[in-house]
């Protein structure tokens, strides 16, 4: 770990710009993940004939997707030009790839919903649900690549763990909401997704901290990011245990545990966002790691 004093800076002024993104962006990440996880639950439920869970999850998926898209548009400097996202398809831009994935995902989920509600073309409807479920893992993880493909060290150096954090958290959150909304007797698969997702989320966050090493991990451990991170862990762990152990029999525990798990996932996105802001604010997080990479000492 490099003591601050050894890093030379220009009057301690930031080297990187602060992200211009506001709270709308982590909220968009969370709702996007929730939508993706829920669409996968819907597809699984439809395949296994669990109609109730399928309907419920598809509804959550569409609602969360709508919220996600609205948040994304609201955060643009020129919301009226949102459609320029579909002007090109750019392989070097995770945001471009993600916009197209979101578009395809939304269309498929809406088609599945329409077929179910209107009771028409059940075959096509099932196909649409499967398509939504198939695109969903990309929707759940592209936002991690989006963050990782920036100059912000707290995000870029975590590039191999962030997708796992986002995928696991999408599963945990979707499982959580489904467990809260579905009668326990039909929520078995959702409970298992919640449990496994929560475990994976906690493990992936731990791996992320280890990968960063003490110097950069500080951006996740100190300040607002640190507080949010602690809350996220607590909500996810307590929520998952409550929902899995108690939610099988007692509906109130299912609701409380499920919602707490989802809240843990939401808070986690904000923690990651704040860690990046902290890393961009202090030039030592840019100079220190780059100096070591250059092998020139601290």
């Amino acid at each position: 770990m490099v003591p601050d004093a050894e890093v030379r800076t220009y009057y301690d002024r930031p080297i990187l710009k602060q992200p211009v993104w506001t709270w709308l962006v982590p909220a968009y990440f969370f709702t996007g993940g929730l939508a993706a996880g829920s669409a996968m639950l819907a597809a699984g439920a439809r395949l296994t004939g669990n109609r109730r869970l399928a309907r419920q999850s598809r509804l959550v998926a569409l609602g969360a997707l709508g919220a996600s898209t609205a948040l994304l548009i609201k955060d643009l400097g020129r919301p009226g030009r949102f459609y320029n996202m579909f002007r090109v398809l750019k392989p070097t831009s995770p945001m471009s790839i993600g916009s197209w994935a979101l578009g395809a995902f939304g269309s498929a989920a809406a088609a599945g919903m329409a077929s179910d509600v209107l009771d028409v073309l059940p075959g096509l409807g099932a196909l649409a649900d499967m398509a939504a479920g198939g695109i969903a893992p990309a929707v759940a993880t592209y936002t991690a690549v989006l963050l990782a493909d920036t100059a912000v060290p707290a995000w870029h150096e975590a590039r191999h763990e962030l997708p796992f954090v986002f995928a696991a958290s999408a599963a945990a959150s979707a499982g959580g909401v489904a467990v809260a909304l579905t009668p326990p007797s039909e929520a078995g698969p959702a409970r298992r997704v919640l449990g496994a997702g929560a475990l994976a989320e906690l493990a992936a966050v731990e791996a992320l901290h280890r990968r960063l090493g003490p110097e950069l991990a500080a951006t996740y451990e100190q300040g607002l990011a640190g507080t949010l991170g602690t809350w996220s862990k607590a909500l996810t762990a307590v929520g998952a245990v409550t929902a899995v152990a108690g939610g099988r029999r007692f509906r109130p525990l299912a609701v409380a545990g499920g919602l707490a798990t989802a809240a843990g996932g939401a808070v986690l996105r904000f923690a990651i966002f704040e860690a990046g802001k902290a890393a961009a604010r202090d030039p030592k997080y840019v100079v220190g790691p780059q100096r070591r990479e250059a092998g020139v000492g601290g």
Binding site: R13, L76, V88
Partner: protein
């Protein structure tokens, strides 16, 4: 050669040589004529008249409405006038060979010009802000009252008319030199050699190496101390170079997610 010819990579068939800046900070006198000329020519709005208390620097940093920024560093050093060594350096967008801002832009608003420079098309930018966090130099930023991002265009309009960019034109000491990039690099190497020979052992080029993390920059510098002393990152890189490995990790995470959800349904049916 191809590494230094981003315009060709971007699809320009017949195009002028790649143009750039060589900023020789050893002759900068801190007059800020470049800052003023840039603002005037490009009609860049005022962005705060503040007293920062950082030597003569009241500009602070590059930003949406500051496209040239002169840094002032006072280093206590025996044998110098008043015991102070002055470092002054006029910073600007680097017009990277591998420009992260341009690579991540989802709308195609950021483009590579026929001169090999990097320019925002203001009629297309939707203000998503991705480029702001992608730039390893902290150059490009959003003008909040406008919603779009702005940065140095290397005076694209002047270049098309065969004119020198405003800042270079205004620089009284030729600290800012404009020209074909390859010529500038040769000239800069000679300048480093002669400074070294005069005993200026800290003289080094910054951004002139095509094998660095951004493929070398179109605007490069002769510095007298470590880059971070001037507020520049020591080892800048365009993170899109890691994109294949990042997508690979994402694919693995996505597969695990699919497998996990499938297992939850297949596990115990009840």
């Amino acid at each position: 050669m191809s590494a230094a010819d981003p315009a060709a990579i971007a699809g320009w068939e017949a195009h002028p040589p790649r143009m750039g800046f060589f900023t020789d900070t050893s002759v900068c006198i801190g007059c800020k004529a470049c800052e003023v000329a840039c603002k005037e020519w490009n009609n860049v709005p005022e962005d705060g008249l503040a007293w920062l208390g950082l030597s003569y620097d009241n500009t602070g940093s590059l930003g949406a409405s500051t496209w040239r920024h002169v840094a002032f560093i006072e280093q206590p050093q025996a044998g110098q006038d008043h015991g102070i060594r002055w470092l002054m350096s006029s910073d600007v967008c680097k017009h990277c060979t591998s420009a992260a801002c341009l690579e991540v832009c989802p709308t195609g608003s950021l483009i590579r010009t026929e001169f090999g420079t990097v320019v925002v098309q203001q009629d297309i930018c939707n203000g998503c802000g991705y480029c702001v966090s992608a730039c390893p130099f902290g150059v490009i930023d959003r003008r909040e009252e406008d919603g779009r991002v702005w940065k140095c265009t290397l005076c694209y309009d002047r270049l098309k008319d065969d004119l020198t960019p405003a800042c270079a034109k205004a620089c009284p000491t030729e600290s800012i030199q404009f020209g074909p990039l390859l010529e500038l690099r040769t000239r800069a190497e000679q300048r480093v050699d002669s400074l070294q020979a005069q005993g200026e052992t800290g003289a080094r080029l910054y951004g002139a190496d095509p094998s660095d993390g951004v493929g070398g920059t179109g605007a490069f510098f002769l510095l007298l101390d470590d880059p971070e002393v001037y507020g520049l990152p020591p080892k800048p890189a365009s993170t899109t170079r890691d994109l294949p490995s990042m997508w690979k990790s994402a694919a693995m995470a996505a597969l695990s997610l699919t497998a996990g959800v499938a297992a939850a349904f297949l596990g115990r049916r009840r």
